[in-house]
């Protein structure tokens, strides 16, 4: 088995684990069937990838995007409104939503990425709230607080996507998550990712090597914004109605995403899957405590950060290291570079 995979020259073992995980994620909801499980798994995937995107910014370049829900909002309304007014398909809407969010990301990034971290956080927060406010007030176009109804995905290659069958939407998001994760993973493993690490370690030490730090931050930020927008667009067509509330596209949503990234473990991307499993799972178990959701998020954030400062991913890695050093073999693998 291992010798077979050696010939594939996978970047590392983690990639294999991820493939196995994705296969599991693809199989379980369709095997279980029904409507409930696919819907829960859709939530898990959505929060996982948003957490990973948050982490792509925070964990790799220390860019704190408190306005991430605003980019989700830009993607959601960008797609929903283009479908309604320009009659594009929701599939094209995914791209339009991504681009709408990327443009806002580009403008925000150009304005703030040369400043210190706290200003980026505050500006993104401001952008998010401004966007939400604008959407609430442009009632003629967006229907404001009464909510904008959005159609579902149209048939693709003869395959229908009825909302009554959540499993079909689950496959859409699974495909989107795989593509997005692959892109993020490829970036993080590339020279660009190496520069991200260098910048995180020492910005000045990086810039005296002729590396334009702000350009790398901008690239990171715009890529993340684009994908957040794509998932915003997916969300719009999945959920069917958009309301510009704080729970949907404001600080509360940001806190959920941020919690998943922190609980999962920063700087790993995949850690967010653990974060999403934990938090979405807990939310499903404690369904009756809806209003307490944020409190629960806050408490679990504090608890987990105190017990495992580097999140579930960090705890798992430590466990793995302890295990492999006890086994004697393989301990050297973890310290070995792959250049």
């Amino acid at each position: 088995m291992t010798s077979l995979f050696k010939n594939f020259r996978f970047p590392d073992r983690r990639a294999l684990v991820i493939c196995a995980l994705l296969a599991g994620l693809a199989a379980i909801p369709s095997l279980v069937g029904g409507r409930y499980i696919p819907a829960v798994f859709t939530s898990i995937l959505l929060f996982f990838i948003l957490g990973a995107l948050f982490d792509f910014m925070l964990g790799y370049l220390r860019i704190v995007n408190f306005g991430i829900a605003g980019f989700l909002c830009a993607g959601a309304y960008g797609s929903a409104l283009s479908v309604q007014y320009f009659h594009i398909t929701p599939w094209t809407g995914l791209l339009v939503g991504g681009l709408a969010s990327a443009v806002i990301g580009l403008i925000t990034g150009v304005l703030t990425l040369r400043l210190r971290g706290i200003y980026i956080g505050l500006t993104t927060l401001f952008v998010m709230e401004t966007l939400r406010f604008a959407i609430s007030n442009a009632r003629e176009v967006t229907r404001g607080a009464s909510g904008l109804t959005v159609g579902g995905f149209t048939p693709l290659f003869g395959m229908p996507f009825p909302r009554s069958e959540p499993i079909t939407y689950y496959y859409i998001i699974l495909a989107l998550v795989i593509v997005t994760y692959a892109v993020l993973y490829a970036i993080v493993r590339s020279r660009i990712g190496l520069v991200f690490k260098a910048i995180r370690d020492d910005e000045l030490g990086t810039s005296v090597l002729g590396i334009h730090v702000v350009r790398y931050k901008l690239f990171n930020f715009v890529v993340a914004s684009f994908f957040v927008g794509v998932f915003g667009a997916f969300y719009a067509h999945y959920i069917g109605i958009l309301v510009p509330t704080a729970e949907e596209f404001g600080i509360q949503r940001t806190v959920e995403i941020l919690t998943i990234a922190y609980v999962g473990g920063r700087g790993t991307l995949w850690g967010s899957l653990l974060g999403a499993l934990f938090l979405v799972g807990m939310q499903e178990v404690l369904r009756d405590l809806q209003e307490w959701r944020l409190v629960i998020y806050g408490l679990s954030l504090i608890l987990i950060i105190t017990v495992f400062p580097s999140g579930f991913a960090g705890a798992l890695r430590q466990l793995g290291e302890r295990f492999s050093s006890r086994a004697g073999k393989g301990a050297h693998i973890s310290t070995k570079g792959d250049a």
């Binding site: 190496l194 020492d202 590396i211 570079g337």
Partner: protein, 237 residues
Amino acid sequence: MTALLTVDHVNKSFQGVRTLTDVTFDLEPGRILGLIGPNGAGKTTMFNVISGIYSADSGRVLLDGRDITNRSPARIAGYGVGRTFQVARTFNDMTVAENLRVALVNAGLSGREERQRIAAMLDRVGLTGVRDLMVSALPDGQKKLLEAARAMMTSPRLLILDEPFGGVSAEVIDLLISIIRGLVREGVGCLVISHDIVSLPRLCEEVLVLVEGKVMTRGAISEIRNDARIVDAYLGA
């Protein structure tokens, strides 16, 4: 011959306190100039102005006749200025080899060329044995050596080194001196701050003495050693 580096009447103050006053000097390619002076004389500040980390209040810095005053550090590095810091700024979260790899990202090399260049540099500075070690595990002396190697990886035309011998073992100092001399023979210009009065004369013949932000004198180390004022100012610190 036009100078590689020209520093022309540079002034710099911090909160009204003059740190550099009318500093003027130049450096030709293929030459090494030592920069000495007591603590707080403004040596590091001078380096920071040259490499774009601080902006000069007035005056100019030219590289090969091109005005680089107050350009960003990345730009200036791109023009061919490589530098190290008094306290090494290595990437401690990475391996030794990866540190060197970062310096090559703008070089547009293929993966194979990149690996060859890294291996060659590791070999040259004697860090091959620790290539896959995390830099955080290295002693400070090796971090300084690695930082110098990383600066050299960018193939600079001007190399400016802030206390390259600090905390570095005797053998590594020998190695560093021979590597720098080799680069200088190829035409690189080099500016070196050092408090190490044993090692510095082995590296360069000429020094610039900076005292209280002003150029006090420039000359052969052998002469300057006999100058009572400088012995007072420099060694008395």
